[in-house]
Symmetry: C2
Subunit: 461 residues, 2 copies
C-alpha cells in the first residue's frame, strides 16, 4: 500500500481532523527534546479512544506500519522521534482525568494528561502527586510511565513506577491487557504492570492509567549552599539524610550556575563562587531546623561549605529552585550532548573524578557541565559544543567519546540512562549497562508482545 | 536415570552432607504452612554458592528434574510444597549478609537470610528494614522476594518490591542475570528485576539480593479500638490517613479476637465486645496526638467506635499488636481454609457484606474469620473446619465454595492472592484475577526463562 492509501485508511479510523500530514505538523510531532535527528513521519494521528488504537495496531500488523507513541515529547533519548517514515500517535486528545476516588486516593486518567495538571488536580483534593521535574508543564503521564520518569524528588518518593497501580494497554499484537486494577496488593503472577512501565512504547500503547496520590507534605524548606570540594559531598549527604524527610538533594557545578545566571538574567546568589553548589529540600519543622544547623555548623567549620542561603518563604524557595531547575533549558542553545548517568551514591565522587580526568585529557576546549540528583546517584553530565565546531562533527565526536564514558559507567556498575530511557540515541550503548544475556531476553520479550515489531521500532532493543 | 543415580549426582555437586533424603528431612522440607498437601520430594539439597545452583539447573535440564526453591516455608499457597518427586533446594546455608554500605544505605545478602536478622542488622546501623509480618522470625529474604511479601506496614512502606534494588538470579535455562546492580535509577530497558520479584521461583533461583534500608521511624504509637459497625470503617480510615505517618491500619473480627484470647491465654482488652476491632500505628508526635483525639472524639460521639486503648510504652504497644499478630498462629489448630484477598479499599465493606451473605446462606455451621491489612484493601478471610467434618471433606467443600467467593473477587476487580502468591493452592483459580490473554502471556514468559519447566513446575502457571 502506498503512503496515500495508508493515509486514507488512517482517516477511516480516526476521522479527517485527527490525521495530519502537512510538513509543519510532521516536523512538530516527529521530534522530541533530543536535538539530534530530523523528523520524517508519514503522518500524525490523534486517537480519541482505545478502539481506535486497537484498529490502528491491527492495521499496522497487516501493513507493516511503524507506530511511534507520542506524549509531551520532552524526552532526551529520542524515544519519541519519528525519523523513518513512522506514524506518530499523539495522545493530546486522550488527556482527561476519568475518575477520582477519595477513599482510595486514586486517579484514573488517560495517557495524554499533562503532569502538572495531575499535580494541580491532586492539590484540589488536598492530596499530592510527588513525581516532579522541570518539564512537568508539558510532559504527559503516558510518557512518564513509558520512561519511568524520575526527577527531583525520587530520594523521598521514588520513581513514576511507585505511583502507578493500574494500566490498560493495547499490546503490539493488538490485545487489550488490564494490568493490576488499581490494587495495592496483588500477588497473582508475573508483574506485567512494571514490565510495561519503562518499556518506552515498544510493547504497546498505554490507554489508561490508575495513579496513587498521597497526603501533601508539610511546608518545605529549601537550602542552597556552596560546596568547596566535591570530596565532602557524601559526608554532607549522609548527615542530611537524618532530616525527616529529605525531599531533594541536588548538585550543580559553577559552570552550570554561570550559564543559568546569564541565560535567565539572574543575580549571583553567593558572595563568591565555588566549584559546586548543593540544593536540598525537606520538611520545615523545628527538629529539622536544629538538625540542619548542626550539619551546617560542622560543615562550615571544616570549610567543606561556603555560603548558605535558607528559604524563609515559598517565594524564596521557588527562587532558589530556579538556579537548579533552569539548567537544562539554559543549556539548550549551547547544543549540549547529554548524558544521564547513575551509579550508587557512594561511588559518585570517584566516578566524577575519573570522567573529568578523561575529558580533560581528551579535549580541553569542551565545556563540561555537571548537575543532577546526586542523592539518588543520578548525574546529568552535559558536554557543550565548542563554538568553532560544526554541529554534525560535534555529535560524531561525542558518539566517539561516549564509548569511553560508558566504559567508565560499566566499570562502576552504573546505568547509561538513569531516567531518560534508551530510545534511539542510547541504543548503540545498551551493552554498557546490560549483559548480552539480558539483551537477548529483552529482544525475546519484545517479540512476545509485538511480534511484527510495529511498536516504536528501532528504539530500545 | 533412577532416583539413586540422581542422588549420587546431587552428592557430586553438593557434597555428602548437603544432600538429605531420609524420610524426616523429606517431610520437613517438603511442605510449607499450607496444610493441604503431603510432601514427597526425592531429596533436599543445601547449596552453598551460585556455581552449585548453576550445575543443578543444568543437571535438571538434562535429566528433566523438578526443582523447588525453599525458603522459610511460611507460605500459605503451597509455593514451596514438594509433593511430586521434586528436589527441594533449601537456602538455609546461603543465609549471610555479604556487605553493607552506609552511604548507599544498602545491604547485599544471600537469599536464605532470615527477615528478622535483616531487621536487626539494620537496627545496629541506626537504619530500618520496614517489611514486617508475623513470620519474620523464620521467613527468608529470598522467599519474601519470590512472593513479593507485604505484611503489616505496606500502607506506609509498600511491598518487598520497593526495597529490592538488585538481584542476581540463575534462570531456569541456567544463565546468570545480574539485575539492576543496586541502582536507584536505571531506565535501560525492560524491568526484569520486578519480573523476578513475585515470580514464586518459577523463573529461576535468586542467588543474591541488594536491599535498601531507610532511617528508623520515630517512636510509634499504637491504638486499638472497637468498631461498632463495619460501615464506619472507611470514614475512620480516611480520617486516620491525615496522621503523619500512618504505618498500619488493621482490622479483625470479634471471632478472631476470641480465638486469640483462648489460644494465647490473653485477657479481653475491652469492657465489652464489638463486631470488629481496629489497630493503628503511627509516629508518636504531638501533632498526631491532637489529630488522633479529633478522630476519636467524632467517632465516639457518633458511636462508630466503642472502647479505645492507646499505648503509652513500647511494651504496651507490643501487647496491643499481639491481639492482631497472633491470629494466624492461633487459627492453625482449627484447620483454616485461608483466603488472601484484596480489593481497592473503597470497596472493602461492600465486598465483605456480599461474602458474608453468601457464606451465611451456604453453611451456617462454618466459622468465618475476617482480619487483614484493610488500609491496603487486603483481607485475610479464614473459614474454619467444623469439628464434625473430616479434613479431606472440608477442603473439597472449600474448593467448591472458593469458586463462588472468587466470583465475587472478580466482580469487585480484586485479587485472589494479595500477598500469599498463587503456588499450588490457587493455581486453579488464577483466571478469577487474570484474563486468558494475560495468563497466556505468563505461560510464554515462563517458557522463555525456563524452557524445560524445571523451576517449581506445577506452581503459578
Amino acid at each position: 500500500m502506498n503512503d496515500e492509501a495508508v493515509l486514507l485508511t488512517l482517516i477511516d479510523i480516526f476521522g479527517k481532523n485527527a490525521v495530519l500530514f502537512d510538513t509543519e505538523s510532521r516536523n512538530k510531532y516527529g521530534i522530541d527534546y533530543t536535538q539530534y535527528y530530523s523528523p520524517d513521519p508519514v503522518a500524525v494521528v490523534f486517537p480519541k479512544n482505545e478502539e481506535q488504537l486497537v484498529s490502528l495496531v491491527q492495521l499496522a500488523n497487516k501493513l507493516s506500519l511503524k507506530l511511534v507513541p507520542s506524549g509531551g515529547r520532552t524526552g532526551y533519548s529520542g524515544g519519541a522521534i519519528a525519523a523513518f517514515k513512522e506514524i506518530v500517535v499523539s495522545f493530546e486528545k486522550m488527556n482527561k482525568i476519568l475518575s477520582f476516588c477519595e477513599e482510595d486516593r486514586s486517579v484514573r486518567c488517560q495517557p495524554g494528561l499533562i503532569t502538572k495538571e495531575l499535580q494541580e488536580f491532586a492539590k484540589t483534593k488536598d492530596l499530592f502527586y510527588p513525581v516532579d521535574f522541570a518539564s512537568s508543564g508539558s510532559s504527559q503521564i503516558g510518557g512518564n510511565i513509558a520512561t519511568n520518569a524520575g526527577g527531583i524528588k525520587v530520594i523521598r518518593y521514588g520513581l513514576t513506577r511507585n505511583w502507578v497501580t493500574g494500566l490498560r494497554v493495547v499490546t503490539g499484537n493488538g490485545e487489550i491487557l488490564e494490568l493490576n486494577n488499581g490494587l495495592i496488593k496483588n500477588a497473582t503472577g508475573y508483574d506485567f504492570l512494571n514490565l510495561f512501565i519503562g518499556s518506552e512504547g515498544t510493547l504497546g500503547f498505554i490507554t489508561e492509567a490508575t495513579i496513587k496520590l498521597i497526603e501533601e507534605p508539610l511546608p518545605q524548606k529549601v537550602v542552597l549552599f556552596s560546596l568547596n570540594q566535591k570530596n565532602h559531598l557524601l559526608n554532607i549527604l549522609n548527615k542530611c539524610r537524618t532530616l525527616r524527610y529529605l525531599s531533594a538533594f541536588e548538585l550543580f557545578s559553577d559552570k552550570a550556575l554561570q550559564i543559568v545566571l546569564k541565560e535567565q538574567s539572574l543575580t549571583m546568589p553567593f558572595s563568591k563562587s565555588a566549584p559546586f553548589y548543593v540544593l536540598l529540600e525537606f520538611d520545615s519543622t523545628q527538629e529539622n531546623e536544629t538538625l540542619l544547623f548542626d550539619v551546617l555548623e560542622s560543615s562550615l567549620s571544616s570549610q567543606s561549605i561556603g555560603d548558605v542561603i535558607i528559604s524563609d518563604s515559598i517565594e524564596k524557595a521557588n527562587n532558589l529552585w530556579k538556579f537548579r531547575e533552569s539548567i537544562s533549558l539554559s543549556l539548550r542553545k549551547y547544543i549540549p550532548y547529554k548524558y544521564d548517568i547513575s551509579v550508587v551514591p557512594s561511588r559518585i565522587i570517584q566516578f566524577m573524578s575519573e570522567v573529568d580526568g578523561f575529558l580533560e585529557k581528551e579535549n580541553q576546549e569542551i565545556d563540561v557541565i555537571w548537575f543532577g540528583h546526586v542523592g539518588d546517584g543520578n548525574l546529568h553530565l552535559n558536554i557543550l559544543k565548542p563554538k568553532t565546531m560544526e554541529k554534525e562533527k560535534f555529535f560524531t565526536y561525542c558518539d566517539k567519546i561516549s564509548t569511553s564514558i560508558y566504559e567508565l559507567v560499566k566499570k562502576y556498575s552504573g546505568s547509561i540512562s538513569a531516567e531518560h530511557g534508551i530510545g534511539l540515541l542510547k541504543k548503540p550503548f545498551l551493552s554498557y549497562s546490560k549483559s548480552d544475556t539480558e539483551i537477548a531476553y529483552m529482544k525475546l520479550i519484545k517479540k512476545l508482545f509485538d511480534e511484527n515489531n510495529v511498536m516504536n521500532p528501532l528504539k530500545l532493543v
